[in-house]
């Protein structure tokens, strides 16, 4: 008894003197920049637990993270030791060579990781993914049941269903969609173009190649869908589209998995909540590829920091995504890629998307340029001011100019 007590005291002293905090970091600086939604707040809070003697942990979680992360990691030493990014935004960091390969850190501290969580480029682990997202079908089971419509698995069926709902005067504008000019509209174009089997670039080059039949079909399908949407669709981002859904105004929409939980919120009419159902993403034009993209969110570690800080940051973030962090509050926040995650009902659509072999959003250095050009250039087509060919030619011209400026062409 006495001996054991002494042993405990000794153990405690050792712990205190070497100042090992709960995560096993002795010293270092951890500074995380990322987006501000709840799942990432959870990760930030998890990393904060590692703060202690000699270890400083700071987080800067803001919607403007993409504007500050690159300059903040370019200097030496970098202001931020880690940036939380998605597959579209890791590219900006890799393009500027500000994040480091994590192979040695994964080997040393990454025992809990599943192989699928590793984001690898040419054998270098550049990021650790911890959550996934995708757009997929959301439908009103009551409306479909009343009219005897089967749950659409293709966009053509969705269009037919919309026509039927409108004909029965059940809803004026039965379709919803985040078609706001800019990023949202371009994302829908990316989905639809991939669904038609198109490739955005000539293989191995940065030359764009969207002005083809796939592009025209994709645009025409979007136009056809928009006929059944609220006439303001070009101003509807996913906030506005969700609001339409909650008000019971739409019966079918392609929506982010991460937003399904909120569609069933307390405030929403009980009938709408009960009938809100999800399915996997749809295909289009007789293709087999889903007209959607898979997304992951993960963390990266800055290149221009000391190895000690990098290690501290890695350990702190590994602590934040340890399987034990999953509980009743955190599990519904996202579709976690963490070992031991049990999917909640809201995650079903994203899982279905993954099971269908939906393509991930292209992780190309210049994909973002194409995306922003599309958000501007296809707007006139959606308003009927241009033909599909003109819009696609405009998109190619705008992209080519931007890509030339960035040195890709």
């Amino acid at each position: 008894m006495f001996l054991r007590k002494i042993a405990t005291v000794v153990a405690l002293t050792t712990l205190a003197s070497s100042a090992w905090a709960g995560c096993g970091i002795s010293e270092g600086r951890v500074s995380i920049v990322g987006n501000e939604f709840p799942a990432i707040q959870t990760i930030g809070a998890g990393a904060m637990e590692c703060a202690g003697d000699g270890v400083t942990v700071e987080t800067n979680l803001t919607a403007d993270h993409q504007k500050i992360n690159l300059p903040g990691m370019t200097g030496n030493p970098a202001e931020f030791t880690s940036a939380i990014v998605a597959n579209s935004s890791i590219v900006a960091l890799m393009n500027n060579d500000v994040i480091r390969p994590l192979n040695d850190l994964v080997e040393k501290h990454g025992q809990g990781l599943q192989k699928s969580q590793l984001v690898t480029i040419d054998g270098n682990i550049m990021g650790i993914a911890f959550m996934a997202n995708a757009q997929h079908l959301t439908y009103r089971s009551d409306v479909l049941k009343d009219l005897g419509i089967a749950v659409p698995s293709t966009y053509e069926e969705m269009l037919a269903a919309a026509k039927k709902i409108a004909n029965y005067n059940l809803m004026q504008y039965p379709l919803g969609g985040a078609y706001a000019a800019g990023w949202n509209l371009a994302e829908e174009f990316v989905n639809m173009y991939i669904g038609h089997g198109g490739e955005f670039f000539k293989p191995g080059t940065a030359e764009i190649a969207v002005n083809n039949q796939h592009g025209i079909d994709a645009l025409n399908m979007m136009k056809a869908l928009s006929e059944y949407m609220n006439p303001d669709f070009l101003t509807h981002d996913s906030n506005a589209t969700s609001a339409e859904w909650k008000a019971g105004n739409v019966a079918l929409m392609n929506m982010w998995g991460s937003r399904i939980g909120a569609l069933r919120g307390d405030e929403v009419d009980a009938a709408v909540v009960a009938a809100t159902a999800t399915a996997g993403p749809m295909t289009v034009g007789g293709g087999t590829t889903a007209a959607s993209t898979l997304w992951w969110d993960g963390f990266t570690i800055a290149k221009n920091i000391s190895d000690a800080d990098a290690e501290a940051t890695f350990i702190a973030l590994m602590h934040a995504i340890r399987p034990e962090m999953l509980n009743e509050t955190t599990s519904p926040q996202a579709v976690w890629l963490i070992d031991g995650y049990v999917p909640t009902p809201a995650a079903a659509g994203v899982f279905a998307a993954a099971a269908m072999g939906t393509k991930p959003y292209p992780m190309l250095p210049y994909a973002g340029l194409m995306h922003s050009a599309a958000g501007v250039e296809i707007v006139d087509f959606m308003q009927g001011k241009e033909t599909a060919e003109q819009a696609l030619a405009g998109l190619e011209a705008a992209y080519t100019t931007a890509a030339t400026e960035k040195g890709y062409l």
């Binding site: 393009n95 054998g123 006439p231 303001d232 898979l294 992951w296 405009g394 040195g407």
Partner: protein, 341 residues
């Protein structure tokens, strides 16, 4: 004032402006003349949670040396200024060659982002600026004639459109003008058109933005004019009354000329601010129908892959645009400054 004394008085403000505006301005100009170096692309295997495939990425080693030698990037001169996403000399030339008539040419310019933005920006500037001045003046005259106790409250309420943060202000107005919101459905009643939507057509969106612009800026003109009204010399008014001038004539011939220096000040600030119109376009998600140079800059900087050279170029073009626009007011100020010459 002696040069030396002037120097010491002016030094602090000059230093602040030099460090935080002039220096960044030179780097912005320099950035608009450079682009990143040519990137070397390689195809490698890449894996993520959804599987592996071969993907193109940048080979940093290959261009490392040139990046270190020329950290500013590649000198391109005015190439970005003239490219398609800015002044688009080549594209405009082609459109001019292939035009069927002049109107056709003007409307086809709408496909080029810079000219599309200029189309809306200039309309906005030309309509909003005089309306703000007129509206501000009328409000000032009206509030000024109120009872003393009412004035204080009205000053506060009149300032509200200016002081509520546009971030949320435009969000709330955006919902109010929705076809199912209070203003939107009110307008539907008024025009007996159940399908009327302010957000769906270009024309109505422009009108909405212009009305918002006037509403948001009128308080600024109001407060400046209201203050000016306090110093209208009473003798002149009385003299005018003795001469049998009506109230309207007094306003036109005595009060308005008295306020004219203030009109110049408000016009100067308003021309500049309206030319840089930005917040309502974002707040009302109106970019499908209306864009501006400031919006283009924001769009270039706010994307995943940031076009810094392009944003710098558009910024320089904005400054040039502002200078051209302000020229008449500046010449006037110059004359006032040297009245004897």
């Amino acid at each position: 004032m002696k040069h030396k004394t002037f120097f010491w008085f002016f030094l602090p403000t000059a230093l602040a402006m030099f460090l935080f505006i002039a220096l960044p301005l030179t780097s912005i100009v320099s950035q608009s003349l450079h682009t990143p170096h040519d990137q070397v692309l390689v195809v490698v295997e890449s894996c993520d949670p959804f599987g592996c495939k071969s993907e193109t990425t940048i080979d940093h080693e290959a261009s490392k040396q040139i990046k270190e030698e020329e950290p500013k990037g590649k000198w391109v001169g005015f190439q970005i200024y003239t490219d398609r996403n800015h002044l688009a000399f080549k594209e405009v030339g082609e459109l001019w060659e292939n035009k069927t008539n002049f109107f056709d040419f003007v409307s086809s310019l709408n496909n080029l982002p810079f000219y599309k933005a200029m189309g809306f920006t200039l309309t906005y500037v030309i309509v909003v600026t005089p309306l703000v001045i007129l509206f501000g003046l009328i409000i000032a005259l009206a509030v000024n004639s109120l009872h003393r106790h009412l004035k204080g409250l009205m000053v506060f309420f009149s300032l509200l459109p200016m002081i509520v943060t546009p971030l949320v202000g435009s969000l709330i107005l955006f919902w109010m003008i929705d076809s199912r919101g209070i203003i939107g459905s009110g307008l539907q009643e008024l025009f007996a058109d159940p399908n009327l939507s302010l957000k769906a057509s270009t024309g109505l969106t422009w009108i909405t933005l212009i009305v918002y612009g006037v509403w948001h800026s009128a308080p600024f003109a109001f407060i400046v004019f209201y203050a000016g009204l306090q110093t209208v010399p009473q003798e002149t008014i009385e003299a005018a009354m003795i001469d049998g001038a009506t109230r309207f004539q007094q306003t036109i011939h005595v009060i308005v000329p008295h306020l004219s220096p203030l009109v110049a000040f408000v016009a100067l600030i308003q021309l500049m601010d309206n030319f840089r119109v930005f917040e309502p376009i974002v707040g009302f998600s109106a970019s499908a129908h209306a864009t501006s140079l400031s919006w283009i800059i924001w769009n270039d900087i706010g994307q995943e892959i940031r076009l810094m050279s392009s944003a710098a170029t558009t910024s320089v073009l904005t400054i040039i645009g502002v200078i051209i626009l302000l020229m008449p007011v500046l010449i006037r100020t110059w004359r006032e400054f040297n009245p004897e010459k």
